[in-house]
Every structure is written in C-alpha cells, then in structure tokens.
C-alpha cells in the first residue's frame, strides 16, 4: 500500500499570499494513500527538509510530494533530503504551487482549489513512480573554449592552471579579440596591450593548452562529459612549422590595399598578413579572397621571398574532431551598425566613426600611431563630439537594452582625447550616465571636472558635413532646455553592443538557448549565471550580455571553476530520466531514430540462439539520452516510455483531474 507524505511550502509569502496552504494540507490528508500532510513556511530550509526526512522514517513513506516552487530550483534539494532519509529520490515529486498557481492567480479561494488539484495530480503520479538509479557516464577531462578574446584566454588559463587540458579555438588568425585593439582601459588607463599580450603568450605556451586559431566550430555532438566537436581549421597557406615569423612575405606582398579588420578599416593590410605585430601565434596567414596568386594564379612573390619555404598555396581547410567533457563559450560581441541612423549620416560620413575606430586612432600601434587624426583628410581633430546610446535604449530602430560599457569608454575616449589634443574640445552627448562599478563614477567625474570634457544631456538630432569639410552636430541640451549646435572635426558614436554575427547558429549547434537579440541565456539569472540550460556548456564574457573587461574576466574564471568542478570526478552521475523501447512491440519504423535530437537511438538486431536475425528494433543509448521525450511522441505504436514520466504515471495525473 502506498504511504504518501504531502508537504506544502508557503515560500515565505510567495505561495501563502494567494494560496491557503493550511487548507491545501488539510485537503490532501483525505487523498487516498496520503498518511501525512503538513504545511510550513520555508520547506527548503533545514528544518523544513528535516520534517520531510523525519516523516519518511517515522511514517515509513513510500512516496513524497512537495507542493512548493518550480522543480527547476529545488527538486535536487528535496530529492537529496529524501535520499538521505533512505527513500529512493525518484519517489519524491514536486507540485509547482508557485509559478503554476500563486504567482499567476489573484483569487485566493480559486487558487487554493487549484493548488489542491495540483497536489492530487502529483500524489496520483508518485504512487505510480518507480525507483530509479542514477546512470554513470565517464567524463573526458578536456575542455573546449570557443573564442580567444580576453574571456576565452582567461577561462583557458584557469582550467589549464587547474591541471586539465584545454583546446582553445579562435576564429581569427590571432588570439586577443577586441581587447587587443583597445588603446587604454578604464578606469585606470593602463595600456590594454601591455596587460593582454603577456596573457596571450602564456596561453599559447601553456603545456595544457592546445591553440587552434583561424578555426571554427562546425558541429557539436554528444553530451556533458562526452562532447564530440568538429572544428574546421581554415587553410592558412603558411606552414606554421616552417614559418619563423620573419615578415619578409607581408613586406613584399603586392596586394596592399585591403582594409584591416584589426584597425577597424582605418588602416590597410596585405593579403598575406598577421593581424597586428603582437599577434599570437605570430605567423601570417594568406587571405585567399584577396591573394593574387590564389585568385588569379600568378604572383607567388611571398613564396619567392620566404627563406624557409613555408608558403603552400595548395593548403586546404581541414576538419578535426575533438573529444571534450565541457565547453566554455566566449564568443564575445560586435558593435551595432549605425548606418541605420540616417540622421547620423547613415554610415556614409567618413569622420563619423565608432568606438573601435577611435580606439585604433588613440592606440600607439594604430594607423596614426596614436594621433587623433580625422579619417577624411588626416588633419588633427580640433573638436570631437561623442554620442552615447547610439542604437542602445532605442527599441524602435536599435536595441532596447543598455549596452552598459559605453558610458565608461566614452568618458575614457574624452580623457584620452584631451590628453592628446590639449587645446581640443571634447563634447559628450548622453541620456544619463551609468557608471556603477569600482572607481567608475570617480572616473566619469574626472572626465568632467578635471579633464575638461563638456557633458551635455540630450540627444543629437542631426549630423551633416559643411562645405569646409567640418561636421555640424545639432542637438538639444535638455537640462538647459535649449537647442545646441556644435561644429566638430569628428564624431564618435558609442554604438550598441550586439552579439557576434552567427551567435544564434552556434547556439543551435550547442543546444544553448539565446534571447531575442542573440545573447546566450544563462541557466538561472541569479544563481547559475555561468551555466547554460545545456549541461556541460558554460558562458564567459560578452556573448551572454554586454560586459566590460573585469566582468568578462570574472565570469571566465567562474566558468573555469565550474569546468574544474565537473572534471574533479572521473565519472558523472546522470539523472536516469531516459527513454526505453518496448522491443516486443517496436516495428522498427525508425521514426524515433530520425526524430532524436541527440542521436541517442540506434538499431538493435535481435537474433536467435543460432545467430539468425529475427528482427531489428530501436534501442536507446542511456548515456546519450537526454530524456526529452521526442521519441515517445513520434512512436505510433506507443512502444517507447520515458522513465520518470511513463505513460502510466502521466495518465494517472490526468485521471486525477476527472
């Protein structure tokens, strides 16, 4: 006979406000099979859990239903408590009285009635529940880090420092990401390259880190502990073993007029190139799209001048399959394209630039060697207007969110500009200044109070080019309540932070969810900010949301800690919520095999004692099944059942409502 215990949680006031918890507990007492029913303010607390444990022992319970919050958060908590009291954890179920009831209703009697129904449903289910045992799967103690910016480098170094192997994949020819392009960093104004490049070198030389630059992830199979990832290594056309990085090739390359990605198109590069002098690895690649030899079949100068014969024009893309136990995604961000703003010149005014372009102008290694010269005629900019929130907080034409870092980098730009052009005028248009962070508000105050940046609260309505080539910036000063017009040599737009193009494609490959803008979603906004809903995949940096460098680094270290935690055991316990095929009734239509998103179902041949094939059926690989239930839904003969959610259990739930 079933002996079910019912425990109703008030969740402070979250449930108790709308649901009469005592009445629910009282009603549940009368359900067939229920031998104990109580309510308590915080069931997840230690005394609450103790109540459940005591009842399991004292009342010899065969099943427990906790009426509380969503099982997402506390099912593991309560199941652990049940296990500690000697009850198989899968004989404990949760009824969601919070998200499914109290939070979505107002009428107390009606909500209480519904809560009673929800409890009845789960009591009927738990009576049908079977004892399940966790599945153990081996863990491959190697991590894959996708993205070689500061977040990816940090995560890789921390995991490698913890003694585990890391494969660091970067799409471009060099590590470094956006941070390598920055001039100086807020709020301390330390040189970006000086703090980043040593870390790049450390990552490249670390014995536990395998570097795969100029490479992209093209396919992800498998599951936590056992991913199989296909990485496409793009053809470099330069043998990295032979190349010494002497640079003779790109000095002589005749295709010189290619806009440099690294310099945000303010400078040019050659077809055989390294993105920047401090690149890691410091070996060039050939850009096949622009190389004269590869497009027209004649030239070959780089091969002629190369002293080690490292150039190989017949190089091909290669696909490598790597086995990893965890994946850290650190694909970063891109700047929103401000050409959608017609009033700012729609991207056609040469001297209206974005933040990255200003960084390159201000950088000692940039195309102007650190002088603030306007792109159109190379003159020193005597007056610069900085416009914040370009695309950010504009639900109609841009993005509705705040890009978070622009207030700070605009203040930095204004300071750097004033340092470089002492007599120059720096005007900042802002909506409001958001400078939360250690030393951040002080930094903005410094820009305004001691560095002479003029801050104007208001929007710019129009930018146009005068006959003499200077720009006219028309806007409003909403504090003074008057229109303003400023003549500037250059305008710097703080474009919104958006995810990398292709972020959603990678997310689909990984099975990670993402928001409407393409930022990857964390598993829980407060308590699981570096995990994703896909077990074994973690997030670091601005691929999740706009972040500055310290936040990206902190999250990267957090992700590394999660990976090291996962790798601390040779085996992993998996929830035994897996599908099972009834081999007697399976007709091998293979619908489940085609439908399974995890490739977890395969053919199984049933043979007689002499080895003759009797029939072929579908068979679920327990290690790979994620318990999604898709196969159950497509099986026409009803020959697949999901442990933990069997047809009998689900029908018992439905029948309880009749």
């Amino acid at each position: 006979m079933a002996r079910v215990g019912v425990f109703i949680c008030h969740c402070g006031e979250n449930i108790g406000r709308t649901v009469d918890c005592a009445a629910v507990a009282k009603a549940a007492e009368a359900f067939p099979g229920v031998v104990k029913s109580v309510d308590y303010k915080y069931m997840c607390s230690d005394p609450g859990q103790q109540m459940i444990k005591d009842a399991i022992r004292d009342e010899r319970l065969t099943g427990v239903v906790v009426g509380a919050c969503s099982p997402r958060m506390h099912e593991p908590t309560f199941r652990r408590a049940a296990f500690e009291a000697g009850l198989n954890p899968y004989l404990l179920e949760m009824a969601n009285l919070r998200e499914h009831c109290s939070w979505v209703h107002e009428d107390r009697p009606v909500a209480t009635e519904k809560a009673i129904d929800l409890m009845r449903v789960m009591v009927e289910k738990v009576k049908k529940n079977a004892e399940l045992r966790p599945i153990r799967v081996p863990v491959e103690p190697t991590a894959l880090v996708i993205g070689g910016g500061i977040a990816g480098i940090q995560a890789a170094l921390d995991i490698a420092g913890g003694g585990k192997k890391v494969i660091l994949v970067e799409r471009s020819p060099s590590l470094g990401g956006h941070m390598a392009r920055l001039s100086e960093t807020f709020p301390t104004l330390d040189c970006s390259q000086c703090i980043l490049t040593p870390r790049m070198v450390e990552a490249a030389n670390h014995p536990n880190i395998t570097l795969m630059t100029y490479s992209e992830v093209t396919k992800v199979d498998g599951f936590i502990g056992n991913f199989e990832v296909t990485v496409r290594q793009k053809a470099r056309y330069v043998d990295p073993e032979k190349c010494t990085g002497c640079g003779a090739c790109f000095e002589k390359c005749p295709a010189k007029k290619i806009p440099s990605e690294f310099d945000a198109a303010l400078g040019n590069r050659t077809a055989i190139y390294r993105p920047f002098p401090q690149a890691v690895p410091n070996k060039p690649v050939i850009d096949a799209e622009h190389c004269i030899m590869l497009t027209k079949g004649k030239c070959g100068i780089c091969a002629k001048v190369c002293p080690t014969g490292a150039i190989k024009y017949d190089d091909k893309d290669r696909e490598v399959i790597v086995k990893v136990g965890a994946i850290v995604v650190a694909t970063g961000f891109e700047l929103w394209d401000h050409s959608a703003y017609g009033e700012y010149g729609a991207g056609r005014l040469e001297d209206v630039i974005n933040g990255f372009q200003f960084e390159r102008l201000a950088s000692a290694s940039g195309p102007t060697t650190g002088e603030i010269r306007r792109p159109s005629d190379g003159r020193i900019a005597e007056s610069v207007v900085f416009i914040q929130c370009c695309g950010s907080r504009d639900p109609k034409r841009g993005v509705p969110y705040c890009s978070k870092i622009c207030c700070m980098y605009t203040a930095k730009h204004a300071i750097l500009y004033r340092h470089k052009v002492h007599h120059g005028r720096a005007v900042v248009f802002y909506m409001d200044v958001r400078a939360g962070g250690k030393g951040y508000d002080e930094f903005v105050r410094r820009a305004i109070e001691t560095e002479g940046a003029e801050y104007i609260r208001g929007r710019v309505s129009r930018i146009y080019r005068r006959k003499d080539g200077r720009l006219v910036v028309k806007g409003a000063d909403t504090l003074a309540g008057r229109p303003v017009e400023i003549v500037a040599d250059m305008v710097v737009l703080a474009d919104a932070i958006v995810p990398q193009p292709g972020a959603s494609r990678l997310a689909q490959m990984l099975g990670v969810s993402y928001d409407e803008y393409g930022f990857y979603s964390e598993a829980h906004p407060k308590l699981r900010p570096v995990e994703t809903a896909k077990a074994g995949v973690f997030l670091a940096g601005a691929c999740q949301a706009p972040k500055d460098i310290p936040e990206s680094v902190a999250q990267a270290s957090a992700a590394a800690a999660k990976v090291l935690g996962l790798f601390s055991q040779p085996e992993l316990e998996r929830e035994p919520i897996v599908a099972k095929v009834n081999e007697v009734t399976c007709v091998h239509c293979r619908a489940c095999i085609q439908a399974c998103p995890y490739g977890a179902i395969e053919d199984k041949e049933i043979k007689d004692s002499k080895g003759n094939l009797i029939r072929t059926v579908a068979c679920v690989n327990e290690g790979e099944c994620q318990g999604c239930g898709t196969c159950v839904a497509v099986c026409r003969s009803g020959s697949i059942d999901l442990d933990g959610f069997t047809d009998e259990e689900v029908l018992a739930e439905i029948a309880a409502l009749e």
């Binding site: 009734t585 091998h588 239509c589 619908a591 009803g638 047809d647 029908l651 018992a652």
Partner: protein, 269 residues
C-alpha cells in the same frame, strides 16, 4: 489496358520463380476482390478496372505473405507510392516486391521498386486530391467550430470500431496498435463517445504526412465515415507547410519526427 499482357507477365513471374506470389484482383459475384495467385495457370483469372480500390500493399506485412517473397503486386500509382513509403519507413527491402504497374488505362509492365519510383516521378508526379473531397473540405472549413464538431461527432458516432480502415491501410503496419495498448489504456475501446473520437483522430494523425490518399480506408469502412476528409486535410497541411510528398522518394525522412534547424518556427511565437 492490356489485361492479357498483365496476365501473361504474372504467369511468367510465377513460372520462372521470380515471384513466389502474385497479388491482384479477380472477380467474384460481380465485384473485384483481391486474388492471391501462386500457380502460373491461375493467372488468367486476374482482372483490373476502376473499382479495384483496395490497396494491396496492405497485405505485405502478413507473415504468410512475407514467406513468399518476392511478391508481385498489381499496383496503380497510389499503391506504388505506398510501396515507396514502406521502403522509406524500413518496412520493405527493395527486392521484396515487384510491381505489375497499371495506371491511366495503361499497363506499364513488370517493374522493380526502383523502376516504379522512377515511373511515379516521371509520369504520375502530380496525383491530385479527389475534387469532391476538396470541395467537401472547403465546405467544412466554412463551418463554425461548433458546427464542425457536431459534424464529426455524428460521423464518429457511426463507428463500430471494426478497424477495417486500419486493416485496409498499408501504412498501419504496427504489430500492436496504440488502440490496443492497455498499460495504460489511452483510448477507450468501447464503440462510443470519446473512444470513437480519439480513435478516428489518432488514426488520422498517425497518417499525417504519410497518407498517399489511395482511398482504401474509406472504401473499406462499412459505416460510410468520410475518412478521406481527415486524411486529405492533413496531407494538404503536410504538403503546404513541409513540402511533404510521401511515396515519391524512398530515402525521404518522415515529416512528423524529422526536423532541422531551418524549420519554420513562426508557429511558436
């Protein structure tokens, strides 16, 4: 149609052992009924005309017939589609069957399954839904949901749960049908009310993207339930939304149960 040639081919297949059995039609009491011919000299009894609606592919799953593989089958284009689809769903090997192909008053001769697939795609690529059925679907779509529910309630109320529709359909090849699953029993087996509704709707859904609209189920129904309305409606949805053309490609994946990253997700929003 060259019936003599068909009989001659059937006899030859049996005589030289290329087929262990020929399934076709013969006349009995003024109607066409399935004929199972094992001797070459019985082949002269074979007939074929427009009333031969039964989909003979439905017999292929029976053990006593499987024993006699390869089996030759008199098949019109719809039936050939059934065979292609059975192969796509791994219920048939390419060399299990031979086709005595008939269509548009023509006898196309003895074809392998691969040849039948080619013939279908070349000559019978656009087998349209019956015009009367389409007209009736349009009439139903004009109804209010209540009227339509009443229409189907009345239709399903006639169902005696004889499962002739299931027996007539080559795609209903499950060894244990969902309606016979009793642990737990999802669908009431009593010939009334919800059970009838559930059975008829589930049968139609299990054929979504798979029904080749041969009409055998409706012809088999002793109660005159217009099953083709449901089948054709779901076939239309599968075709319009997922380009489903069941039975034209033996390598095709099923519409229900296959997915890809580029599938339209508009319906979730």
């Amino acid at each position: 149609m060259d019936l003599a040639k068909l009989r001659q081919d059937a006899a030859a297949l049996l005589a030289d052992g290329r087929a262990g059995l020929v399934i076709g039609f013969r006349e009995r009491a003024g109607a066409c009924v399935p004929a199972f011919v094992t001797d070459a000299d019985q082949a002269d009894a074979l007939v074929y005309d427009d009333t031969c609606i039964a989909n003979l592919a439905a017999y292929l799953r029976k053990p006593e017939i499987r024993q006699r593989r390869p089996v030759a089958l008199v098949a019109r284009p719809h039936v050939m589609r059934s065979l292609i689809l059975l192969k796509a769903e791994h219920q048939l090997q390419g060399d299990d069957v031979l086709v005595l192909a008939v269509g548009d008053d023509t006898y196309h001769g003895v074809l392998t399954l691969a040849e039948a697939e080619r013939l279908l795609n070349e000559t019978y690529a656009d087998l349209a839904t019956d015009a009367q059925v389409l007209a009736e679907i349009e009439r139903l779509e004009q109804m209010s949901p209540e009227e339509r529910a009443r229409f189907w309630s009345e239709q399903f109320a006639k169902c005696t749960r004889c499962y002739a529709c299931r027996a007539a359909c080559p795609m209903c090849y499950c060894e244990r049908c969902i309606v016979e699953k009793n642990v737990p029993q999802w669908i009431s087996t009593a010939a009334a009310g919800h059970g009838n509704y559930a059975w008829n709707v589930i049968r139609a859904f299990h054929l979504a993207g798979r029904c080749i609209e041969c009409g055998a189920c409706e012809a088999a129904c002793p109660q005159g339930i217009p099953l083709m309305l449901l089948n054709a409606l779901l076939a239309r949805e599968a075709r319009d939304q997922f380009d489903a053309r069941p039975g034209y490609d033996a390598e095709a994946e099923p519409v229900v149960g296959s997915w890809n990253k580029d599938d339209d997700e508009g319906f979730i929003r």
